[in-house]
Amino acid sequence: MSTDHQAKADEILQRASLAAAEFGQLGAAETDRIVRAVCLAGLENRVSLAKLAWEETGRGEWKDKVLKNVVGSLLVYQDIKDEKTVGVILEDPDSGITEIAQPLGPILGIIPVTNPTSTVLFKILISLKARNPIIISPHRDALACCGRTAEICYRAALQAGAPEDCIQWLSETSRELTHALMSHPRLALVLATGGPGLVKAAYSSGTPAIGVGSGNVPVFLERSADIPLAVESILASKTFDNGTICASEQALVVEKEIVDRVRRELERHGAYFLSPDETAALEKVAINPETGLMSPRVVGQSAVSIAEMAGFEVPPKTVLLMAPQDEVGEDRPLSGEILAPILAFYVRDGFDEALKLCIALNYRGGIGHTASIHSTDEKMILRFSELMNAGRCVVNMPSSQGAVGGMFNRLPVSFTLGCGAGGKNITTENISARNLINVKRLCRRRDNPDWFRFPPEYYLDETRSAGEILTDYGKSN
């Protein structure tokens, strides 16, 4: 690593450490005032930031990015504003345990190109709510829009009494600088939202990290589903910002009994079913043959332009490309994750066969992320949810918006979706301010009468059986 990168990281972390020290002195009311001011600043600039993100990244739709910014500011704020993150957060007189929140320290927020400004707003709000300074490290294709967002938030935070340097942002980035920051001894946490390589680098840095996993979201349209509502939901999710949310549907699995109705409904709403030749042509542009992963060229592009790239024409009002598939696997490139308006389409005879296919999709690169079902049969919903390895199983709603939370359900609002052990993460939670505090436990003496019922000699007696001990234990109550 060059000394320049190390020196830059040292300087950034020096500033952040001073900010962390000052931040720790603020009380709950002062912290909440800062968080509110930042929310308002983000919300006020929702449109200009969305346009900036769209112009700079060339991905998605600016109108959808406005809504993402509203989620990243207003909905995140509504979700965290009453959360206790300062001082005593819980008192339990029975157990004698008092929980006290303390900040983690400087956080490095890695920002993806797909949701840049909204993720900046989200990460800044949850970090400040927990009294942690944050350093924003954007994707190289989103430096300007992320910098502008961070600057707007910083000014608002300072005006509301936040410490200097509580928000810093990188105006240039490189692998070396990111590594120097991630592995810096004064960094408390890496909040890594991005591709698998970046998340792995965060985990390997030696600094605690909260990462995400890649998704490959199956959506199961079960025979009892309200088909018009299901199709409307799937389209609202998969076409939103041209499919850039990692919780968007990647493969639609339909029971044979209802396939004709589903297909008609999809076509009525602007979905275009590809022929085998068109599917083959699409595979070539949508997937990098060397890695087997999605090609950045198609990420966040419209259905019409992707079809153009693939060399065929679709009706101008097409919003989604449906790619009929038979099986799942590496030899079926479109059965993996593609953050674009492309949806693999499967038909299966009966619930069990459909469920088996959903499991195969889930285990093809999407373990721990999100699964979606449309059904009115609670038994089937539960069976599906028990078998999917997913942090979130969303039911009868758009998967993207459902997984992010706050719009169609009461999940914590988040742009960083934990994927559990399957996704190589520590948690399946929707990451929020509560994940960015250390909880101290003040433990008052409360003797356990069962433990003190017998003297140590009782346990030293080898002739006493385990069953007898287990029976005796707990009789104090």
Binding site: Q25, E164, D165
Partner: protein, 109 residues
């Protein structure tokens, strides 16, 4: 407002801080201290000698900002200051220096 006094016998510049050492207070106090170092106090004919010690007394300080921490760092590295010390820090002020990692680079008594 910082109270500044120079102990001619011990060659120590003593600074007694009070109130909130936020960005406004720290900037104001920094200006006063640097002014004293460069030019001496009003009514005092000569500035401090080429080399001297500085002692920050935090007995009456209520809140410490990152701006104040930077002031401590800059004085500790000042080429005319042979020794920089901080005394009478409260437990919460002491924690601020620890969180910032400055307890390892500054002399906090």
């Amino acid at each position: 407002m910082v109270k500044i006094a120079f102990d001619d016998e011990l060659q120590v510049l003593k600074c007694l801080f009070s109130g909130r050492l936020d960005i406004v207070g720290s900037s104001r106090d920094e200006e006063a201290i640097i002014g004293f170092i460069d030019q001496g106090a009003p009514g005092r004919n000569n500035p401090p000698p080429a080399e001297f010690a500085v002692l920050f007394d935090l007995a009456e300080a209520e809140y410490i900002s990152s701006a104040f921490l930077r002031l401590c760092l800059s004085l500790a590295r000042h080429d005319r200051i042979r020794e920089f010390s901080i005394v009478n820090s409260s437990p919460s002020a002491r924690k601020v220096f620890s969180v910032a990692g400055l307890d390892r680079v500054l002399k906090i008594l």
